[in-house]
């Protein structure tokens, strides 16, 4: 059965027809073309599909699409602003925190949510916030360093690239 729903993604409103048994992730990727959020395990184990729903980190692969109706969805495509990449994106680049990049959209979203709540997260707070995002490449250390760099840049009102020598 096709249902007509209205979905707000990264500030844009979409009126779309979706099969009623679609998840938010399937709708984002296969109806709307937002392919940033990744379909990894597709059953809640890995975190690569993490998006924000009203600012709350949410696994879109196990969220029935109807539950996103009437809420604000933010995907990794919505992180960058008009002035360029989000501080986290810049910091991930500088720190080498993305290797194959498959986990990165979910990690960025979870980290962005953390930085909205906490200006100076401790290493332990970062680990906890990212404990649902599995990465097979980096060993996590570079991810944690990148989040710390982005947090410092935000505190100092500068860009991560201005804080490190390349």
């Amino acid at each position: 059965m096709i249902e007509v729903i209205e979905l707000t993604v990264n500030g844009d409103r979409h009126r779309i027809g979706v099969p009623s048994h679609y998840t938010l992730l399937e709708t984002l990727r296969y109806v709307l073309g937002y392919t940033g959020s990744k379909q990894g395990c597709d059953k809640g184990d890995c975190g690569s599909c993490t998006v924000l729903v009203d600012g709350v980190p949410t696994l879109s692969c196990i969220l029935p699409v109807q539950e996103a109706v009437g809420h604000e969805v933010t995907t990794v495509e919505g992180l960058a602003g008009p002035d360029g990449p989000h501080a986290l994106q810049d910091a991930f680049d500088i720190c080498g925190a993305a290797q194959c990049g498959f986990c990165t959209p979910g990690v960025l979203i979870a980290a962005a949510s953390l930085l909205r709540q906490t200006e100076s997260p401790s290493r332990q707070e970062i680990k906890t916030a990212l404990s649902g995002n599995l990465c097979r490449c980096t060993g996590y250390t570079k991810i944690y360093e990148a989040v710390e760099l982005a947090a410092r840049a935000a505190r100092e009102g500068r860009k991560p690239s201005e804080l490190v020598q390349r």
Partner: protein, 333 residues
């Protein structure tokens, strides 16, 4: 990619509407709250209802508040809220802690306490894709007629794997259930049955509306210990919930100990008051309680972990629960 089967998704605003939908579509409908258990299970074709009734939009299923000398937690409160609510942290720290260990931060945002109470049992031979299960010839919990854990067995022994119920039992909690036929209240301990196929007393058309906790007696000391492979994401493969009521600073009044993650029903360890009531909480008592728990627990190979080791860990985790209680009361002193 794990496709879902076609279904219709209902989002009632009122509890009455939800209960009506569950009655009208009886046999072909399930309630869904956070969906963090049901969605993966449906992707594995363990459930294929034609209708889902979402409880998330039902206003009456929220709220964490003090009522009639009890604390009430609405069934749709998220695990994140339960873990962080000041009332829960103040009166029931072991419950807040147990909720904080569930799955990962995103799942705690989505998953609910009602869903945690109703979590389906788990088994290595069950939580798999349809293709995987078909290759093995299915099992009697779903689609088949044999058990791969107990060869020749006629009873499913899949594991109760939710983190909050063992703690709720030690705290004397109960659950309110509602259906079109009316409401009833049942102790969380009596809510669970030893049948791995459907391990709760909840009828399919009933909805858990809230969890109710009595105010704890003064000086109740509690702990929750969870064994799992990784410190995040994973379900418990053994869990120990402990509540010790004290007669005075040193003397035990009674001990409530629940061990779970092993079989279909959380196991309340019996005969503890014979060992401990009226005595000082010393190493001898702790060892005797740990031994009693060990004797009463018999894990089976419903997960691919050595069963003898899992059983040996019962003693270790009971000791840890006591050590936790002791170190907390030392810190408070």
């Amino acid at each position: 990619m794990l496709r879902l089967h076609p279904y219709r998704y209902h989002r009632p605003r009122e509890l009455a509407g939800a209960l009506e939908l569950l009655k009208v579509h009886a046999g072909n409908v399930m309630p869904i709250a956070g969906g963090t258990d049901l969605m993966p299970n449906m992707k594995h074709r363990l459930f294929t209802p034609g209708h889902l009734v979402s409880l998330k939009g039902v206003e009456g299923l929220y709220g964490i508040e003090e009522r009639d000398g009890e604390i009430w937690i609405g069934a749709c409160e998220s695990l994140t809220s339960v873990a962080s609510a000041p009332l829960v942290k103040r009166y029931y720290p072991s419950l807040a802690f147990a909720a904080s260990t569930i799955a990962n931060p995103m799942i705690r945002n989505q998953g609910t306490i009602g869903g945690n109470l109703c979590l389906d049992t788990r088994c290595t031979y069950y939580n798999q894709t349809h293709f995987w299960r078909q290759a093995l010839g299915f099992c009697l919990k779903r689609d088949g007629d044999v058990c791969h854990v107990v060869k020749g067995g006629t009873r499913c022994v899949a594991a109760h794997s939710a983190d909050t119920p063992p703690v709720l039992i030690t705290l004397g909690a109960s659950a309110d259930l509602a259906s079109t036929e009316g409401t009833r209240t049942i102790g969380v301990e009596e809510f669970f049955t030893a049948d791995g196929v459907w391990n709760t007393a909840r009828k399919p058309h009933e909805v858990v509306t809230r969890v109710r906790l009595p105010k704890p007696p003064a000086g109740l000391r509690t702990s929750y210990q969870k064994l799992r492979e990784r410190k995040s994401v994973d379900f418990p493969i053994l869990s120990v919930a402990l509540a010790v009521a004290m007669a005075d600073t040193d003397t035990v009044a009674s001990i409530s100990l629940v061990v779970s993650g092993l079989g279909a029903k959380p196991r309340t360890i019996g005969q503890l008051d014979d060992i401990a009531a009226g005595r000082q909480l010393d190493a001898g008592i702790i060892e005797a309680v740990a031994e009693q728990a060990y004797r009463q627990c018999h894990p089976l190979a419903n997960i691919i972990v050595d069963s003898d080791w899992r059983r040996a860990m019962v003693r270790v985790y009971v000791r840890r629960a006591f050590r936790d209680i002791q170190s907390k009361s030392e810190a408070a002193a």
